[in-house]
Subunit: 337 residues, 2 copies
């Protein structure tokens, strides 16, 4: 049976036409995008659920947006998964609102404290997964432990890594380096059943120092955006340097295919987005700046998650592991409430 992916046409920085174009590009006999957006939108024959509510803005407060705009395309697309009208949902809109709507209409898997965004990083040694890429700007040690479990299951199921090596993003390899959050999380991860291999520094992110990178959503988001921006700036700077002399110009033409290949491999638009893990349904969060290419890839990413049965696998494996995380709930829980 074909996979149905609800696509929020009004999320992100681009006009809805760009989102529709992306969904259209991803459509196939096995993948049916369902557009959630206003009546007047030309969906080029794609299935279309007309939404009438005011759209959720990028700077809307998440909880207020979900409560106050129940008929928005974002909330309606998320609800479609909760109601069983779609298998998965994709939006490039307000991440906080996506999280709030998902918590309300799709709900968490049993025992999950907080869903986390899992992003695949195309490292030099193959794909690794970073979790949390931005769902929880403030997190607690036990949340990070759960992210480790969710990321590990994801790496096994989707990336086909038999025994994923898990590391904690911090400011030094030594266990005593870090802030209070990572120090406490380090202790929990070390006691856990995960294949935990200690702290990872930012410089190893793109090198592929492990299979699962655990961090709070603030740190993960800053690190990922720094990574993306740096790739773009370096490739741009190289083009500028090359363009200076004749020698460089000719050399630049000759290496163009190599540069293009590299750019494609490292381009975040190629990944399309991240999974919001820990829910009873599949949610893909795309970049706010997603072009049609990124939306197409995000839609395919959603379908791949359904094919791999990510939610069911998390639902089977997490509960056993969740016992472990709640048993080791840290004393800091009480003092830092």
């Amino acid at each position: 049976m074909a996979i149905r992916v609800a696509v929020d046409a009004l999320g992100g920085d681009h006009p809805p036409e760009e989102i529709v174009a992306g969904a259209l590009a991803a459509a196939s006999p096995d993948l049916i995008p369902v557009i959630y957006g206003p009546q007047e939108l030309d969906t080029h024959g794609l299935e279309h659920v007309v939404t009438t509510g005011e759209p959720v803005a990028m700077d809307d407060k998440p909880a207020e947006a979900v409560r106050g705009k129940p008929e928005s395309s974002l909330v309606r697309a998320v609800r479609a998964v909760g109601d069983g009208d779609a298998d998965a949902v994709v939006s490039a809109g307000n991440t906080g609102a996506m999280l709030a709507a998902s918590l309300l209409y799709i709900r968490r898997l049993p025992g999950v404290f907080r869903p986390g965004i899992a992003i695949v990083i195309p490292t030099r040694r193959g794909p690794s997964v970073l979790i949390d890429a931005g769902a929880n700007a403030d997190a607690r040690p036990e949340h990070l432990l759960q992210f480790g479990h969710m990321g590990s299951i994801f790496a096994q199921e989707v990336l086909d890594i038999a025994a994923p090596r898990v590391r904690l993003l911090s400011i030094g390899e030594e266990p005593e380096k870090g802030n209070q959050l990572t120090l406490d999380a380090h202790a929990l991860l070390e006691e856990s059943s995960l294949r935990f291999e200690g702290n990872l520094e930012g410089r190893e992110l793109l090198e592929g120092g492990c299979d699962v990178v655990v961090c709070d959503g603030f740190t993960g988001n800053v690190a990922l955006k720094t990574l993306e921006g740096t790739i773009r700036t370096v490739l741009h700077a190289l083009r500028t340097e090359i363009a200076v002399g004749v020698r460089g110009k000719i050399g630049g033409l000759l290496i163009r295919p190599a540069g293009r290949k590299l750019r494609t491999r490292l381009d975040p638009e190629e990944t399309g987005g991240g999974y919001l893990l820990g829910l009873r349904g599949l949610v893909v969060i795309a970049h706010g700046s997603s072009s049609r290419v990124a939306i197409a890839n995000a839609t395919r990413l959603a379908a791949r998650g359904i094919e791999h049965d990510v939610v069911a696998r998390l639902g089977e494996v997490l509960p056993e592991r969740v016992v472990e995380s709640s048993r080791s709930t840290n004393p800091s829980e009480r003092t830092r409430g």
Copy 2:
């Protein structure tokens, strides 16, 4: 009069000979490096203060190391500045121990809550300064406000930027994006006399979206290391891609000068290290992995700080501004103690 820079020969990942070679390269009639290290070290005629204590290890607990190893090269080199035997100190050793030793033997400028590490980033639009790059893994909103003031004075005095634009490193440009720390700091920065221009995302770090980037030491350290690692991995990956075919190989030879120029501009070893600002003396923290090139540049950086009279300027300007920061001390101070 020549500037005297105390150099800790036993800090960092390299053997002391590498540190001495770096100090030697920086020596000039105007810059006298003074080596702090063991008797047997060949200092090639450089001034040498023999230290007999066990060295501070990278994984020593900072406070214990400073208390327990008062005769180590690190502590002795820092004390030299406190005692007036040297104008500045450079170490690639344990950052936490450098901070603890500096607090004890050099002491803070009046009104300063916490010293912060200021690092110059070679952005596409010229240098900008990031503070804090790692002195305070856990910080409070009022610390970030002070980092803004210190970075701003630094940008004026050392980088010659008349009215530095200050931004806060966060996960979205909108003021309501961030974790509790940046939300509170954003409010303080907005009320302040600084030229505050809102949040900055990691993707703009190397683009040069502002003159002063404010963040806590954990976030700053992760972002900087991500930036460095990404530059290295991208340039390496490009070399690998190019090396595949004949066309690419010839092209690679032709663009080599451009690539080298770029690599030099972006190489963290070229900066050498960061200033620990907010103290009554000049302290330069070099990368743990510093080679002789980095140590030479760190030693020159220390001398430049003396020439620009950074400490005196901070001492003059900060007190006026510090009134502002303590007036606006945030209520979170009490609850998150």
